[in-house]
């Protein structure tokens, strides 16, 4: 039996008999996406609590409050006598916004003077602020056009045409993530990150296990360059075999379960993700260079997920990254994986449309395999042989 086949079988045995590795390759991809998706599954931020300070106490101010309360985004929990009382409610974490309506609000609106109501928003979470902004804009516009329609004729009959026939319509269409849900925004990217991370973690741990007890794997420890290379390819293929089902599950069934947008062609998506999986496996073999024991992976790799999340451009877009960070993100398989997968899965791009990402992933796959070979040949294999001797 050739070294390649022998390594493949041995690695499969090793994976299936090691609880730690099974945890990374089965539990992690199966359970993690579900836990994660469930956290954000409500998608929208609804009914953020708000307190009202109404200095006007008029029909119009009450109507404004009623309309804001009726929006999906805001829930009015009560009135405060003055701003101080409102602040106290906010400081006691009872509400996240205060609406202050100035005295003379109704009168000034009637006279066509400007008299803005103010929302003081607590800024710890931007999603709450965004809700306030959306709701207040909508309410102000709806009430405004109503008032316009009512009283424009009394002032300038000719200008009535303005309110009756809108001279210019303005329309917004949301694409991809149609309902602007938070889960549908963040999860497709996170799924790709989980895929990359569970491969690197599992391979790192397998590497640590071999470094700790090289005698158990002596027959597949290559002693020549060719041997090291074939043995690495064999083990790599074993990981590819094992990750196949979890990969289909994560990229197809998880989005289906949580009804994320799925506009792409599933086969093209799998084809797209193949080089990313290969690159991640090779990255894992590179990582083995610093894994002197099984548990090193937790301490050295888990936290990188945070770095990769930001490098992927999911929260802070890549076009706005400084040169250094952009270059660094070019080195991460998940960066292009996330970009391409989101475009295909959420925006319905075809494989040919994500060509630059696809090419980048194949270059990474090639580059990391080469680097992995060098690390295996000159760091990992000698370390194992030293321990054997």
């Amino acid at each position: 039996m050739g070294i390649f086949l022998k390594s493949y079988i041995k690695e499969l045995k090793l994976i299936t008999h090691d609880v730690g590795i099974i945890l990374f390759l089965a539990f992690l991809p199966l359970a993690y996406p579900i836990i994660y998706s469930l956290i954000y599954n409500p998608e929208q931020v609804r009914d953020v609590r708000m307190v009202v300070v109404d200095h006007d106490r008029s029909a119009l101010s009450r109507e404004l409050v009623r309309n804001l309360d009726a929006t999906q985004e805001i829930r009015i929990i009560g009135y405060a006598a003055d701003l101080g009382e409102g602040k106290h409610a906010m400081n006691s974490h009872k509400c996240y916004g205060i609406l202050e309506i100035p005295e003379g609000f109704e009168k000034k609106v009637g006279r066509g003077e400007s008299s803005p109501a103010v929302i003081f928003a607590e800024m710890s979470l931007l999603l709450r602020y965004r809700g306030f902004l959306v709701a207040s804009t909508n309410v102000a516009q709806a009430m405004g056009s109503e008032i316009l329609a009512e009283d424009i004729n009394t002032r300038a009959p000719l200008a009535g045409t303005l309110a009756v026939t809108d001279p210019l319509g303005v329309e917004n269409v949301t694409m991809g993530n149609l309902e602007s849900g938070f889960d549908s925004f963040i999860m497709p990217g996170v799924l790709i990150l989980i895929l990359q991370q569970c491969l690197v973690l599992a391979i790192g741990m397998a590497g640590g296990a071999k470094r700790e007890k090289p005698w158990l794997y002596s027959d597949i420890t290559g002693r020549t360059s060719g041997g090291v290379f074939k043995s690495m390819l064999g083990s790599g293929l074993a990981f590819l075999t094992v990750i196949l089902l979890p990969c289909v599950y994560m990229l197809h069934y998880v989005p289906m379960m949580f009804t994320f947008p799925m506009a792409g062609d599933p086969f093209e998506i799998m084809l797209f993700i193949l080089p990313m999986v290969i690159a991640s496996i090779s990255l894992g073999f590179c990582f083995q260079g610093v894994c002197s024991e099984r548990e090193s992976v937790f301490v050295l790799w888990v936290v990188t997920s945070v770095a990769f999340l930001f490098l992927s451009g999911l929260t802070w877009p890549r076009y706005a990254m400084a040169g250094f960070w952009k270059t660094l993100s070019d080195l991460v398989p998940a960066t292009f994986g996330v970009e391409g997968f989101i475009r295909m899965n959420t925006n319905g791009a075809s494989l040919s449309q994500v060509r630059p990402d696809y090419i980048a992933l194949w270059i990474q796959a090639g580059g990391y395999t080469l680097l992995a070979f060098l690390i295996q040949r000159f760091i990992v294999a000698p370390a194992r042989l030293r321990k054997l001797a």
Binding site: P116, L300, W316, Y319, S350
Partner: protein
């Protein structure tokens, strides 16, 4: 030298000698801190790549294009000819949205047919799409206002009369503490301490587990005269001191050098950070006591440590989560660190309002009381399970 001092010294040497501790304690947390703060230094990712589809091609539509192009938030990278072309550009990731001026726009407008401007935003990327949405909407409404002004003036109204008429009801939103919607302030203040939580906890389980794995724990126990409290405290104290120094550095980095809002008292924030370190360590000791196994305790810390980034509700609020999940957000120390940051640094309110968050730290610190006997048992007869 007393037993405590001996263990302390042994632990310090271990920290200094093993590269993995350097990586976990200095390199990774400091790198992530630098990365997050530096990456988002601009505050907002301005110059969002966008396109305009001008099917009209008149003086008016070109003026709108120009207005759009002059906005700081927008970078008009492209002039597409059709909706399909622009949509393809969006799918290819070149643009995050586009603004469409229909055919016969100027003509329809002048003849009162009421044409419609439509703008498309790709919500698969929340931040750039939201910024683009705002810029597009502003441009569209400004154009509309300009047109209405013209019509109204021909009808005999003055500009002063028309402007408030355009928007009779006006609601202004004021963000307290972070009026510029600075993303670095919003994200770094929660994510950086959360990185610390993860690494602090992993280091505890890793170093305690190593004693069991390599069989050093009986000797450790002997050095402490069989007192497990002494053994564990002396073993972890060097880490505590290290993390204290690092977290004070982090605090100075965020609120002094980066100039993030610190509207309250430095003193209470410092107390919070110092207690936070011990609370994280105590929680990790608790996990280790429940699962005195190197891999399992590390797995538990990793799982919860990474989930904390979402569960602690830095971006999606707790009250919007399902109740059964929201409960978990209150189980991690970082939640209280985050709440204290909001109260004390961002909003600068009286510490009275934050009193319960400080109490939570104390509860974490008391947790190991319940499991020390288990750690003692595991230390006395070390059994490594891979």
């Amino acid at each position: 030298m007393s037993g405590f001092q001996q263990i302390f010294k042994r632990s310090v040497l271990e920290l200094v000698r093993r590269p993995i501790y350097w990586g976990a304690m200095f390199v990774l947390p400091l790198f992530l801190m630098l990365m997050l703060t530096n990456m988002m230094e601009q505050g907002l990712p301005s110059k969002v790549p966008a396109a305009i589809v001008d099917k009209d091609g008149t003086a008016l539509s070109r003026e709108i294009t120009q207005n759009l192009g002059s906005l700081q938030m927008v970078d008009l990278v492209d002039q597409s000819n059709s909706f399909t072309e622009a949509r393809h550009k969006m799918q290819e990731g070149e643009i995050f949205g586009f603004f469409m001026i229909p055919e016969n726009f100027e003509k329809d407008l002048l003849s009162g047919k009421g044409p419609t401007i439509t703008f498309y935003t790709n919500m698969t990327y929340f931040v750039p799409a939201s910024l683009l949405f705002k810029s597009f909407k502003t441009t569209a409404l400004m154009s509309k206002a300009g047109i209405m002004l013209n019509v109204a003036q021909t009808a005999g109204l003055s500009a002063e009369e028309v402007v408030p008429m355009m928007q009779p009801v006006n609601i202004v939103s004021r963000g307290l503490g972070n009026p510029g919607l600075n993303y670095a302030i919003y994200l770094c203040n929660s994510f950086v301490p959360c990185v610390f939580q993860l690494m602090i906890m992993l280091m505890v389980c890793f170093s305690l587990g190593q004693e069991i794995k390599y069989g050093g724990s009986p000797r450790l126990l002997a050095m402490a005269n069989g007192n497990i409290w002494k053994a564990v405290t002396a073993k972890l104290l060097p880490q505590t001191i290290g993390w204290w120094i690092l977290i004070i550095f982090m605090q100075s980095w965020l609120y002094f050098w980066q100039g993030y809002p610190m509207n309250g008292s430095w003193w209470w924030m410092t107390v919070s950070e110092l207690l936070f370190v011990v609370a994280c360590q105590s929680l990790a000791v608790f996990f280790f006591g429940v699962l005195p196994n190197l891999r399992l305790s590390l797995s538990a810390c990793s799982l919860l440590g990474i989930l904390s980034f979402s569960l602690a509700a830095f971006s999606f609020p707790v009250e919007s989560m399902y109740g059964s999940i929201a409960i978990f957000s209150w189980l991690m120390p970082i939640r209280y660190n985050f709440l204290i940051y909001i109260d004390q640094a961002l909003n600068g309110i009286d510490v009275w309002y934050s009193r319960w968050w400080y109490v939570a730290y104390i509860v974490y610190i008391l947790l190991p009381l319940t499991v020390m006997y288990r750690i003692k048992k595991a230390f006395a007869r070390p059994q490594y399970v891979p």
